[in-house]
């Protein structure tokens, strides 16, 4: 039962179509390790520590860099004095506490939420190319937000109108996808993907219709919203996404083992004692909640929920007890960095962050796909 013999045997059997090929010559070892064969896992505390440091650095940079540059020491001085109950009312203090810090924190929370939602949706539909917006939440939210921006719905709610519109749109889309794709008690992956994609297309056509009927100026603000931005961030926007993220995260960490089992497929999971129908339903609502809340505060920021889970899995493997906590920290860092680039690259103008995340994300994903072909459907 030796590994080398095993492999050599298999190779030889595959080499000759009639099974008559001679054994591989000893000079050319068949089972020489192709890259990425052996996976040694880095200890989790180390990865978490590194990602924690990365998050602190990106957040400090995110708060410090801008039209008025501030040193890291100045940034932390303001934060420390605010937290100790002595508000810093200098210009720097106001820039940090009123403008940049809530923005950076919101970016971090949304980045973490989208990464978590993405990682879970990929298990839910058992497809590595799924993202949190696959299940229709974002396109539903677009309809709501567009209706607010173009038709003036919920005008009495003031600055909350867009959030309200997008939340209602996301909820409607979630309910629609859930009801349409459900078969008995089951939410099957293929039905979920198809219904999500089809209903998304329908919602998008409604959005397009609204834009088509709207005036050019309002259309501009719709387009800006659709591409995502943290430009309107303030402290009041933080609690709801943060609470949603914490609650969903607690649930997911409790379900990390069943999630691993579900990653094997529905039937193996059932044989491992997982109530698959219930788990899938809960995962659907949990990810829709995260994606919906993220969209409500920042618009539709694509690619983060698709790419970041892949980067995390590449480093720590697929065990969700590792993927989920690392994903929160790394997703947060990724988004803070993306937002920093979005507002500095073409300063004093601000780019929609969706442009940045897609621009960084697409090549990253292609790199990953090419590096690990066997994970993406290629035979060796």
């Amino acid at each position: 039962m030796c590994a080398v013999d095993d492999l050599a045997g298999t190779r030889a059997a595959q080499a000759g179509p009639l099974g008559t090929a001679p054994p591989l010559p000893p000079g050319r070892p068949g089972p020489a390790r192709p890259a990425g064969r052996r996976r040694d896992r880095i200890p989790l505390p180390l990865v978490l520590g590194a990602c924690g440091v990365l998050l602190l650095i990106t957040m400090t940079a995110g708060v410090g860099i801008g039209s008025v540059p501030l040193s890291p020491a100045a940034v932390w001085h303001v934060i420390a004095s605010q937290l100790s109950g002595h508000p810093d009312n200098t210009v720097a203090g106001i820039i940090v506490w009123q403008i940049r810090l809530p923005r950076v924190l919101l970016a971090a929370v949304v980045g973490a939420a989208l990464t978590t939602a993405g990682a879970v949706v990929q298990v839910l539909v058992r497809n590595a190319l799924a993202d949190p917006f696959l299940l229709g939440v974002s396109s539903g939210a677009s309809v709501g937000a567009t209706a607010v921006l173009l038709l003036g719905a919920f005008a009495s709610l003031g600055i909350w109108a867009i959030s309200m519109g997008s939340v209602l749109g996301a909820l409607a889309a979630m309910a629609a996808v859930f009801l349409v794709s459900r078969q008995g008690r089951q939410l099957a992956p293929t039905q979920l993907i198809l219904c999500g994609v089809v209903l998304s297309a329908m919602f998008e056509s409604v959005t397009s219709f609204l834009i088509f009927r709207g005036n050019p100026q309002a259309t501009q603000s719709v387009l800006f919203w659709l591409l995502g931005s943290f430009g309107l961030a303030n402290w009041n926007q933080l609690p709801i996404p943060l609470i949603a993220l914490a609650a969903v995260m607690a649930y997911l960490l409790a379900q990390a083992r069943p999630l691993n089992a579900l990653a094997m497929g529905a039937e193996p999971a059932a044989s491992l004692g997982v109530d698959v129908a219930r788990l899938r339903r809960n995962l659907f609502f949990a990810t829709s909640l995260l994606a919906g809340v993220a969209v409500a505060v920042s618009g539709i920021i694509g690619f983060v929920g698709l790419v970041v889970p892949h980067i995390v899995r590449l480093v720590v493997g697929s065990d969700h007890r590792r993927v989920l906590p690392v994903g929160v920290l790394f997703g947060a860092s990724f988004m803070v960095l993306g937002d920093l680039l979005a507002r500095t690259i073409v300063a004093p103008q601000e780019m929609p962050i969706g442009v940045i995340t897609a621009f960084i994300g697409a090549p990253t994903l292609i790199f990953l796909i090419r590096r690990r072909p066997y994970l993406y459907g290629a035979t060796q």
Binding site: L18, R38, Q255, A263, G265, L375
Partner: protein
């Protein structure tokens, strides 16, 4: 310690797939489920591992109704190895085997030393310990099956359900896998494709056709020319295996052999494969 199916019928999407199935797997027995494609083998197994509920009849584990058990409790008694599959996600063999501990663990509970020992022992017994740090998706079909058997062992169930565990494997692994399973000392219910292999390993076999059991008993009594013709619509020769004395089934061609052997030069048992895959021109010289 027995698994019993009593009058089990299963409907899927309003269609009856299997009807009135009675099967008993006594403690430590290796029971085979045979039958043509679509005869309902997988459906019966999936009823045992709780993917499909029976629409009539019961599945009993030591006399207790399996459906009344909590999924976790049932999973500690019944483990499953299905056909080779590809995971969308990158797990190492060790992680894969550790997933077998799922029904034994509570939310938030960590892997203990005991869990790790159980996983290592499972890999040793299944013969895949040397693969522990390899990525599952890079393994050969046979190695994947060894890993899935190790996962089932880590689950510490005393019943093992196998759904065509050897159908894509080479002849060495076909025997190795079944030999391994037969030596585990657990009760086994296995759907098998290869009738001769089934005859070598199973104490009892049940032959399905059209969703009903058409024959059951020891392989020697069941695997006859007449049964195979009735169940599969196939013509076979049955001989005795020289080593084991079990029935060995040899398929027969439906068309008379016309064009083989005569058209090839002497010394060639089969025609050489050439690059474009077409047959060599029929040699006139012979």
């Amino acid at each position: 310690m027995s698994l019993r199916l009593e009058g089990v019928s299963v409907d899927i999407a309003g269609r009856r797939i299997v009807t009135g199935i009675d099967i008993t797997v006594a403690d430590g027995q290796f029971v085979g489920l045979l039958g043509p494609n679509g005869s309902g083998k997988s459906t019966i197994l999936k009823t045992v591992y709780r993917v499909h509920p029976p629409s009539a009849g019961r599945v009993l584990l030591d006399g207790a109704d399996l459906r009344a058990m909590k999924p976790r409790d049932a999973a500690r008694r019944v483990a499953v190895v299905t056909q080779e599959f590809v995971s969308e996600f990158d797990f190492t063999v060790r992680e894969m085997v550790m997933i077998g501990r799922t029904p034994h663990k509570q939310a938030f509970s960590r892997d203990t030393e005991a869990d790790r020992t159980i996983a290592e022992t499972a890999m040793e017994r299944a013969g895949c310990a040397h693969l522990a740090d390899r990525s599952f998706n890079t393994l050969s079909g046979g190695e994947k099956q060894l890993t899935l058997i190790a996962r089932a062992l880590a689950q510490e169930a005393d019943h093992l359900i196998l759904d065509e565990p050897t159908s894509h494997l080479d002849i060495r692994y076909q025997v190795q896998i079944l030999e391994l399973v037969a030596g585990l000392g657990v009760s086994v219910l296995a759907a098998l494709h290869d009738l001769s292999l089934a005859a070598m390993f199973c104490g009892t076999v049940h032959v399905l056709a059209g969703g009903r059991i058409v024959a059951d008993g020891p392989p020697r009594a069941v695997l006859t020319q007449a049964t195979i013709r009735a169940a599969y619509g196939a013509d076979v020769l049955v001989i005795e295996h020289p080593d084991t004395g079990t029935p060995h089934l040899i398929p027969r061609r439906t068309q008379p052999e016309a064009d083989k052997a005569t058209t090839y030069p002497e010394g060639h048992l089969c025609h050489p494969v050439i690059a474009n895959g077409s047959s060599p021109a029929a040699p006139d010289a012979s």
